[in-house]
Amino acid sequence: MCQRRFIRPLHDPTTVVGVIDLAQLGSTAVLLAVGVTIYGLLVGVVGIAQRDGRMTASSRFASHGAFVALTLAVAVMQIALLTNDFGVSYVADTSSRFSPTWVKVVSMWAGLEGSILLWAWILAGYGSLLAGTAPNSPLRPWAVVVMSGVQLFFVGVIGLVANPFAPVLNPPFDGAGPNPLLQNHWMMAIHPVLMYLGVVGLTVPFAYAIAALITGRSGAAWMRETRTWTLTGWAFLSAAIVAGGWWSYEVLGWGGYWAWDPVENLIFLPWLTATALVHSVQVQERRRMLKGWNVFLVVLTFNLSILSTFLIRSGVLSSVHAFGDGPIGPVFLGFFLVVTVVAFGLAAWRRTSLRDQAELDSALSREGGFLLNNVLFTAMAFAVLLGTLFPLIVEALSGDKVTVGAPFFDRVSVPLWLAVLALMAIGPLLPWRKAASQTVRTNLVWLLLGGVVAGLATYLGGVRRPYPLATFTLAGVNLASLALLLVGPVRMRARATGRHVLSAAVEVVRDQRRKVGSMIVHFGVVIIAVAVAASGGYRVDTQLRLPFGEAVTFEGYQLLAREPYSESLPQRVSHGAVIDVVRDGRVLATLRPRINEFRNARQQVTTPGVLYRPFEDVYLSLSQIDPDGRWVIVRAVRSPLVTWIWVGGLVLVLGTVYALGPGPVPRR
């Protein structure tokens, strides 16, 4: 269908009636969102000041309105992308008419302005959901106001600073196309969305925390109201990090999934503090302690997420994943500083309302375990933050350039993670208030047994490196702990109801959702820990020349390069090799690693061929193809247990979903 797009300056009087100007429509939608958000913010504040229920209701309605306006903006952007309207500046910068349809859809968040639009839209969605579903409480109006305030920043950035709908006066024939690394793989459709759902989701607890500070009602109420939001945001963020690791694994070509790259570290930080938070809130729920610390953690989590988005989008830190710099750097810095001063300042000002009578019956208790958990995660967060910012600090102070790379981060985090693993096994077994020494001793015996069995088995299996060995041993301890956690309640239930053990187990699993959900989550963490230890410690990297037609041995496999192949698609031209992976005479898989050249981009991107197996992956990445077609050079990687990282991530998310599910109908 032939469509004409006339893009003119806004004041041009010769507008042809009947032609839809997407750039203008999108800009209008964004400005509408700005206006509605300002209205919601103002009417909310005035409504609270004057205790006017209708005004606060109107501010909630404005949250819905902002979501509608931003949905319109997103729809306009999608239409512009799908119809190749290069009169819209973002489409011209980021999309290409030769991309397949799904790439055009995801191009919306492939570039800077579009990703902020996505953030604002998801934020508006959360704000609308909050306004619609939050129970009526003294905190709700303030929470809505804070959400509107944060939202005002993001839509303001889109509307005023980095407008993706800016018109292009002479639309080019074709746009620049997205970064080759971002159109190479379907995960581009999933990871960023998960990331935003996670990070943005953690804005809601922040809004409630600020509301609690402002109103002085810093009790357990705001924790209860936000538990679902916090856990949901945390789960999405966890899923996003694991999905990001899988994406790196399948796209970057070196067979790894985590490089302690600055961008990875920055998004890891709010995850660490959020994990500490989901544990320490339970202490507040049960023992009404740690109010101040929890508020501090919530505010810190949100602050870190803003810091990370600032550093990622501003070009201050260089990274493989970075978005590139632009005019929005100073704007995001300003917002970060404002949030820091306002939120922490509020907490300082209201610290009397955060005071509580903290007391413990015993250090050896569930509370003690959670406290130690928080210390470990805080220490880890500090170390990661320091390592990430250190090169910048040194350069600012002395001009010297220094590198803080993976060895540093491994050195600081691995011991802490081992401590976390140990604590994860012991903590849930400790009762609240005080652990009776008899139960502690019995449990400890079983835990040690589990550890010894696992440790011996792996040692006899050939594992000698200390960190993997320690991880596997602790995994055994954790499995013993999970068994103990299940056996106790099941046996009690079977005895109480006189039913068979299995049906008692089913009942326990069905009724104690929170506890079982957390057990599943911890189980997922154990799986990930074991997989990371194995794939990190026992990975084998080589580079091999594979002559066509000749099998080459690699780590017990035979790699047989059969023939070269080429693919020519509208958006890319690829050259690769068809390689069979053979073991014991059987062809396990036929992999097709390739080197891609995208239009409009000089940088070549490799797509590896990966054979996923239960116990190890065989990962092939092309380095070079002989111009005469006689051989290829591949990087071959054998990574034990990598698949279990993705499985563990899935288990973790499922555990959270289960924990959040509806509780049992209470029986009378």
């Binding site: 009578q357 590198t403 790379g405 993976a406 540093f408 600081v412 990297d541 080589t542 020349r545």
Partner: protein
């Protein structure tokens, strides 16, 4: 400086280099060096031409019997401390070496002190109003009389 004299002949473009097959040891060493032309990757991770050439060079040096330290020193002499993934252990860089451990220890110590204080508070006996207690006891004794 004979030590730094590295005589080699470059053939025309497209020549096949001697070291194409790279052992895992090469990648282990390469993983500890930063790729100079990349933004934030190690020589093991990067697929750039320079990284490939550096890996080939590492393989050549290993085959010639050089030790890991010598190979790191070779690159350090040409690119500076920046090319190593760990900062040097001197001066201001000691901050990043020591501070994480200091902070972790400090947090644990702080927690221990807090927990000690909180458990002491928990064990403090409740202050009892003696008169009210006596009245209560008298009342209870009265109720027990038939």
């Amino acid at each position: 400086m004979p030590r730094r004299l590295l005589l080699f002949t470059l053939l025309a473009a497209g020549a096949v280099m001697a070291q194409v097959e790279l052992s895992p040891k090469v990648f282990e060493i390469a993983a500890r060096l930063r790729c100079p032309v990349c933004i934030s990757e190690t020589v093991a991770q990067s697929s750039s031409g320079t990284a490939e050439e550096m890996r080939t060079l590492i393989a050549t040096k290993l085959a010639a019997g050089e030790s890991q330290q010598q190979i790191f020193a070779y690159f350090q002499q040409r690119y500076g401390d920046w090319i190593l993934l760990d900062p040097p252990r001197r001066g201001i860089y000691l901050v990043v070496w020591l501070l994480p451990g200091v902070v972790a220890a400090g947090l644990v110590l702080g927690l221990a002190l807090l927990v000690a204080e909180w458990t002491r508070r928990g064990r403090r006996p409740i202050d009892v109003d003696e008169d009210a207690l006596a009245a209560l006891q008298r009342g209870m004794a009265q109720q027990e009389r038939p």
